[in-house]
């Protein structure tokens, strides 16, 4: 694998040469400071832009063009990274070695068409398309809230993120109602003109100069990126635990626990947060699964995930109503044992190995490689060698120390159990 970055006035181009795959991926990433409005607008915008363009003015035309080029439909996605928001547009092109019709340049022109020649007139998107996408988005939000497992997580994040409204990533239904064909266009302009832009091309490429010239001539955004905030959110000390309870007409109860990290060092934030998550709930062999499911038979699923940029750790499970106290007690015991160092060196070793294996997965496909270099570019993540070294040196003491800096903030209990 070979990496080359070219810094231009408007954007950076990142070339990642890798001969292991049959495709070449190109992703254009727009990074902005997150706001509540931005999340909803971008959720609509990505679907409007990839629906049709001025040249291919129906979805049928756009999809057929993709099929002619042997492209799978262009992808678009949004991701929140703490206080930053990334909007990505991507295409996957079959390596021309395997199918002569496929061409990286044709694919790039199609991406240009989607981003820079949208179906717009009088500074407005097409009403019919925006209405349809808004309806889809509204229905999606409602659907997610109707699923008890997902609802418990959404409610927890809403309750946990008093100041950081953006935790869930779902569209806000009130803001969604305010989206018009004109206001959406303004957000489109904002994305093009004010974002930090990075263009990534990963695959078996070597004609860097030719590609650079082609990209420079094709992608002109007239962009003046605004300064990005720091990605990480920090919490003040957590005072009391809060318990919120709702009842539902379902057979199983759900619990979601939100914990906050305070006063972490950069090393702890980058490495020990995910180490702790892996130990307690990151896989089928983690402590929560072992103690709550396998030893006590109290649930089918229990797990955790951590967001280092939000400095939070979430635990969730589906339980019997009567087992609530027992499960909370067991979770507390796990944290207590970790703080006292009552866990084996074997467990520590397995956790480190798993983190190292996850790191090596960046080589499994072009997209993983793109996101690895995006992390370095925007989130200032360490390079892989540094990461490997830091993980290899994680100690029991590190785990014991971070437990002292994580506090249970909120429990959301969705009580079912009919």
């Amino acid at each position: 694998m070979e990496y080359k970055k070219i810094e231009l006035d408007e954007y950076n181009i990142h070339f990642i040469k890798n001969e292991n795959f049959h495709s070449i991926n190109c992703n254009i990433m727009f990074t902005q400071n997150v706001t509540k409005k931005l999340i909803t607008y971008q959720n609509v915008l990505i679907n409007v832009l990839t629906h049709s363009t001025k040249k291919y003015d129906t979805n049928i035309e756009l999809v057929r063009k993709c099929q002619e080029l042997c492209l799978i439909r262009p992808t678009a996605s949004t991701t929140r990274y703490g206080n930053l928001y990334s909007t990505s547009f991507g295409i996957s092109i079959l390596d021309p070695k395997y199918y002569h019709e496929s061409s990286l340049f044709d694919g790039l022109l199609l991406l240009k068409e989607i981003l820079l020649n949208p179906l717009v007139s009088h500074q407005s998107f097409k009403q019919e398309i925006v209405d349809f996408i808004k309806n889809e988005e509204r229905a999606y939000v409602i659907r997610e809230r109707e699923d008890p497992r997902s609802y418990a997580n959404i409610r927890l994040l809403e309750l946990l993120g008093e100041d950081n409204y953006a935790l869930t990533g779902y569209s806000d239904l009130e803001i969604l109602e305010e989206v018009t064909i004109k206001s959406l266009y303004r957000f489109y302009q904002k994305m093009i003109k004010e974002s930090k832009i990075d263009i990534f091309i990963a695959g078996d490429i070597d004609n860097y100069e030719e590609l650079k010239t082609f990209i420079q001539n094709s992608f002109i955004f007239n962009n003046h990126a605004i300064k990005l905030d720091e990605a990480c959110t920090y919490h003040l000390d957590v005072d009391n635990e809060h318990l919120f309870k709702e009842n539902i007409d379902y057979r199983q109860s759900k619990i979601a626990l939100g914990l906050k990290f305070t006063n972490l060092s950069s090393y702890e934030n980058k490495y020990i947060v995910s180490a702790l998550n892996t130990l307690i709930g990151g896989n089928n062999d983690a402590l929560l699964m072992k103690r709550v499911r396998e030893e006590k038979g109290l649930c089918y699923y229990i797990g955790s995930y951590a967001s280092r940029l939000d400095n939070i750790l979430i635990i969730n499970s589906g339980i019997k109503k009567k087992d609530y106290e027992e499960i909370i007690k067991t979770i507390r015991e796990i944290f207590h044992d970790l703080e006292k160092g009552l866990f084996s060196n074997d467990l520590l070793k397995k956790m480190k190995l798993e983190l190292l294996e996850k790191l090596s997965s960046i080589n499994e496909n072009n997209i993983n490689l793109i996101y690895y270099f995006y992390g370095q570019e925007v989130l200032h993540s360490d390079d892989i060698l540094t990461k490997k070294e830091k993980i290899a040196h994680i100690t029991k003491k590190d785990i014991q120390n971070i437990i002292k800096k994580v506090e249970l903030d909120t429990i959301f209990w969705l009580e079912g159990d009919l």
Binding site: A139, P148, Q252, Y301, S360
Partner: protein
């Protein structure tokens, strides 16, 4: 080992039947660091009436027993298998479907040791009353989790409307049925179905085919389980007609949803090669209902649904296409599906464009060793053979497709509406 093309020359598959009767398939890919292995038992939730080892009569099994066995495979007398896999950061899991149970691992280190241990794990049954009772509690929570999922309930009802003998019920069983399960019946069912000749192994990634077959041939635990008993299942042929044409159910939802399905008998098409016939039908429905179809465009312009997709189910000679939609205008959505099916107009250009697209999708899919292995497992379970997918696509002929279109029987349909409870 026998060498075959799986995706033309881009992906080769090596096959050999091991000494103990296990069919072994290896798809090497040395560009990847990773490997995956799936040990598959041809036993799933649809198989429920069988002569168990030592019995002379057919016995109706409690539903959910295949899934129960899957859970219990992770309980070994010598300890927790996660302890072994965890030392190499190997991911291990399992799943049960209507016709199979799969045990699978993914990893980058010590492939041969891990595959050897996966086989050992599956062939080391360990059932005690205490551990079986503990598992009932865990599975009970899994059943409740699914029953609370309203779209899962809609899917269940759609299957009840379509099928009498296949794809039936909840794979995990019910709280009542799993309470009938004990260590004794688990042992008998295990001995009946977990025999090497009723199983196969698929390995993909950075591995040597020879080393894989050698390890299967020399694995002591599997050799102790060499096929001993014939498997006798009460075969129930699926009926051609749908069971229920119309159902309405109610749930805690805001937006109405539906599942609308067509059921076809592949024997009606007079095409001898059913694998080829399935490719034709898949191609046709991709054109009619896939992304960028006229159907898609009409849904968008007329706001007929906020979310929709289609999926296929295939078993023996039965093929169904089923549409899921979330829609306030369910009747209009159903009408549009019917009209699209009744007025098929696919040109040779459309036909060739989709064929070309499929090639490119398949070539790209070979980069993912997990997808490749799962694709072969699906082929083996559905079509009971390993074949060159490229060869099939290449042989698809536009004029033959037109003949198939003429033979589509569009009268055999089943519809389920899921409506808001409060609107009842």
């Amino acid at each position: 080992m026998k060498k075959l093309n799986y995706f033309g020359k881009i992906q080769t598959v090596y096959y050999e039947k091991a000494n103990n009767g296990l069919d072994v398939y290896v798809l090497p890919n040395n560009k990847q660091e990773k490997y995956t292995a799936l040990l598959v038992v041809k036993y799933g939730s649809d198989i429920n009436e069988v002569k168990l080892v030592g019995d002379s009569e057919f016995k109706l099994l409690p539903s959910g027993i295949a899934h129960f066995l899957e859970h219990k495979a992770f309980d070994m007398n010598e300890g927790n298998p996660f302890d072994f896999f965890g030392q190499y950061a190997t991911f291990v899991n399992a799943s049960t479907s209507f016709n199979s149970t799969k045990y699978y691992i993914e990893g980058k280190k010590k492939a041969y040791d891990n595959i050897d241990y996966l086989i050992k794990m599956v062939f080391s049954p360990y059932f005690t009353e205490d551990s079986v009772n503990n598992e009932k509690s865990i599975i009970g929570e899994e059943i409740k989790m699914y029953e609370d999922d309203i779209e899962w309930v809609l899917d269940l009802k759609a299957r009840e409307g379509l099928f009498k003998n296949i794809f039936v019920g909840n794979i995990g069983g019910s709280i009542e049925s799993i309470n009938e399960i004990d260590a004794n019946i688990l042992t008998k069912v295990y001995e009946t179905f977990y025999q090497p000749s009723n199983m196969f192994l698929v390995v993909s990634g950075k591995v040597s085919p020879k080393k894989i077959i050698d390890l299967v041939n020399s694995n002591k635990v599997i050799n102790e389980h060499k096929t001993k008993y014939p498997i006798e299942i009460l075969q129930k042929k699926e009926e051609k007609q749908v069971v229920l044409e119309y159902q309405e159910i109610y749930g805690l939802i805001k937006n109405p949803k539906l599942r609308y399905s067509y059921k076809f008998d592949l024997n009606d098409f007079m095409v001898i090669d059913h694998v080829k016939l399935k490719w034709y039908l898949n191609l046709l429905f991709t054109f009619l209902f896939g992304s960028g179809s006229y159907f898609d465009e009409e849904i968008i312009t007329k706001h007929l649904a906020t979310s929709f997709y289609d999926d296929y189910m295939i078993r023996d000679n039965i093929y169904t296409i089923s549409f899921f939609a979330e829609s306030d205008y369910g009747d209009l959505f159903v009408d549009l599906v019917d009209k699209t099916m009744e007025n098929i107009n696919i040109t040779e250009e459309d036909f060739n464009r989709i064929k070309k697209l499929w090639y490119s999708i398949i070539i790209r899919s070979t980069d993912n060793i997990v997808n490749v292995a799962n694709s072969l497992v699906d082929d083996l379970l559905r079509d009971e053979k390993c074949y060159d997918n490229f060869d099939y696509i290449e042989k698809l002929d536009y004029h033959e497709l037109l003949e198939i279109i003429h033979k589509l029987d569009l009268s055999n349909k089943s519809l389920v509406f899921l409506l808001p409870k409060e609107g009842k």
